[in-house]
């Protein structure tokens, strides 16, 4: 097929939008860390932009989208951009240059790896995070992306629906985050000691950039400048708006309307609509957005306050739980008029079961593989910083920098 300039322009812009989500995530996470860990928390996202940005081109893309090997992983035929050029692929997004499709997908790999870091901030050793990230992208992200989006991928073959990465990005990152927390343990002083966000305006700015970039993430996943992109765009905004407002109401009922809660809700809404955006009508985003905020709010209460997991920035509770709800919601609300697939409401109950298989498969694989990779990193270079390093803060101990200058200004 030949190149469509409109499609190419849109996916190029979308790729840039998705890239911007990772600096957005750096701010979103960084603001929630304590003052002494602000830079180290942001650094995790920026370092992953470098690391995965390179590894994706070298081998990540090939293992995700290369020639199918048993439905499980891509082959070697796209290693180092081999056979990936200015002409369209004959399999994927056939109206845009293959390079654009590769780049767009690479931005997803970057943010997925960066998402995990939120669970382990304030005590993971920086070198361990880098080694873990390289291994995780290779062994977890690329294969799971192949299962769901790769030509010949087994979950794709089964008919599991994941428009923009509810399973590949959010369940994958959320469950892996939980597994890594289990290996790494709690921050010193958790719970009990108050660990106060150092700068909620940064969190809000980060959430704004995430929301903005998410239009590229979801509407760009149409891989064309068409009606489906428009549907995804509107559904995305509606879900974020609904969920942010819902979380605000929940916090109001408990205490007072919280900004941190509102922006967290918006992000949860974006997570939940991600798998659904190209399969459901825009209006379905309203129930999806309401339910995700209720689910994620109480997931935080359960995981952190009751069970005592120090998933520091609630990656599992927001991305894992939000992604699981989004995957189920896609099976429930899918409309054949939008993405050509009927869901439960249109009488196709089997779609929910297929979605469930996808959730369990991705969740179980991510959990087990992360435990293995994390253990490997732990026994080789050690996952955690020393007690003193943790106490003085990772900004100083890992990076020799501090976020705010001292007395002399």
């Amino acid at each position: 097929m030949s190149i469509d300039t409109g499609d190419t322009a849109w996916v190029l812009v979308s790729s840039a939008l998705v890239l911007l989500m990772t600096p957005g995530l750096a701010l979103f996470y960084g603001g929630m860390a304590r003052r002494k860990n602000l830079l180290s928390t942001m650094m995790m996202s920026f370092a992953v932009m470098g690391l995965v940005g390179v590894l994706w081109v070298l081998w990540g893309y090939s293992f995700a989208f290369g020639a199918d090997e048993g439905g499980l992983i891509g082959g070697f035929n796209f290693l180092g951009l081999l056979n990936v050029g200015m002409d369209p692929s004959d399999t994927y997004a056939t109206t845009i240059p293959h390079l654009v499709f590769m780049a767009f997908q690479g931005m997803f790999a970057i943010i997925t790896v960066a998402l995990i870091s939120g669970a382990v901030v304030e005590r993971i050793k920086f070198s361990a995070l880098l080694l873990f990230s390289a291994l995780w992208m290779t062994v977890v992200y690329s294969p799971v992306a192949h299962w769901v989006w790769g030509s010949g991928g087994w979950l794709a073959g089964l008919g599991a629906l994941d428009f923009a990465g509810g399973a590949v990005v959010h369940i994958n990152a959320g469950v892996s985050a939980l597994a890594l927390v289990m290996l790494l343990g709690k921050r010193k002083g958790f719970p009990g000691h108050v660990m106060e966000a150092n700068n909620i305006p940064l969190v809000a700015l980060g959430a704004g950039l995430l929301w903005f970039g998410w239009f590229g993430f979801n509407a760009g996943s149409a891989l064309a400048a068409n009606g489906l992109a428009a549907n995804a765009f509107v559904a995305t905004n509606l879900s974020a708006a609904t969920a942010g407002f819902t979380w605000m109401v929940i916090s109001w009922l408990h205490n007072r309307p919280s900004l941190l809660g509102t922006v967290t809700g918006a992000v949860a809404g974006l997570v939940a609509i991600t798998p659904a955006a190209g399969f459901v009508t825009p209006l379905a985003a309203i129930p999806i957005g309401i339910i995700v905020s209720v689910a994620c709010y109480y997931a935080i209460v359960l995981m952190k306050n009751k069970l005592g997991f120090d998933d520091s920035l609630d990656v599992f509770a927001v991305h894992g739980v939000g992604g699981i709800w989004g995957a189920l919601a896609t099976g429930i609300f899918a409309s054949s008029a939008i993405g050509g697939k009927p869901g439960l409401i249109e009488g196709n109950a089997a779609q929910v079961l297929t979605q469930l298989i996808g959730i369990v498969a991705v969740g179980a694989f991510a959990f087990i593989a992360t435990l293995i990779i994390g253990k490997l990193v732990d026994v080789t270079i050690g996952l955690r910083v020393g007690q003193d390093e943790e106490m003085v803060g990772l900004d100083l101990s890992q990076h020799g920098e501090r976020a705010y200058g001292g007395l002399l200004r």
Partner: protein, 112 residues
């Protein structure tokens, strides 16, 4: 000479400053401090649930006055910093050995 250290509510600074100025106590140093007393803490929100902060922001005023002026200054502070609720703050009075004006080298009574 005595040093008066007054811990007051942030929103009372202007009134206290004005009252001191009217009694012609112009020089003072103000710092932002955190502290606790009978007021205990306040509860703040995380994404889900609450946490308690038991150190609250206050302002600390420091001024040095002649011994005979202490009561007047204290009175100006107390009258203008009081709300009657817990959390109005504290005043401490300490003896001062010397004071020196850096610009001139003047000492003690000539340097407050």
């Amino acid at each position: 000479m005595k040093k008066i250290e007054a811990i007051i509510r942030e929103e009372k600074l202007d009134a206290v400053k004005k009252a001191l100025e009217e009694k012609s106590y112009f020089g003072l140093t103000v710092s932002e401090v955190m502290g606790r007393g009978k007021q205990k803490g306040i509860s703040l929100q995380w994404r889900a649930g609450e946490y308690r902060v038991d150190l609250l922001p206050k302002l600390k005023l420091e001024l040095v006055v002649l011994d005979e002026d202490v009561d007047v200054a204290i009175d100006a502070i107390v009258r203008n910093a009081r709300t009657g609720e817990a959390g109005d703050g504290k005043i401490f009075v300490l003896p001062v050995e010397h004071s020196v004006r850096v610009r001139t080298g003047d000492r003690d009574e000539n340097a407050i």
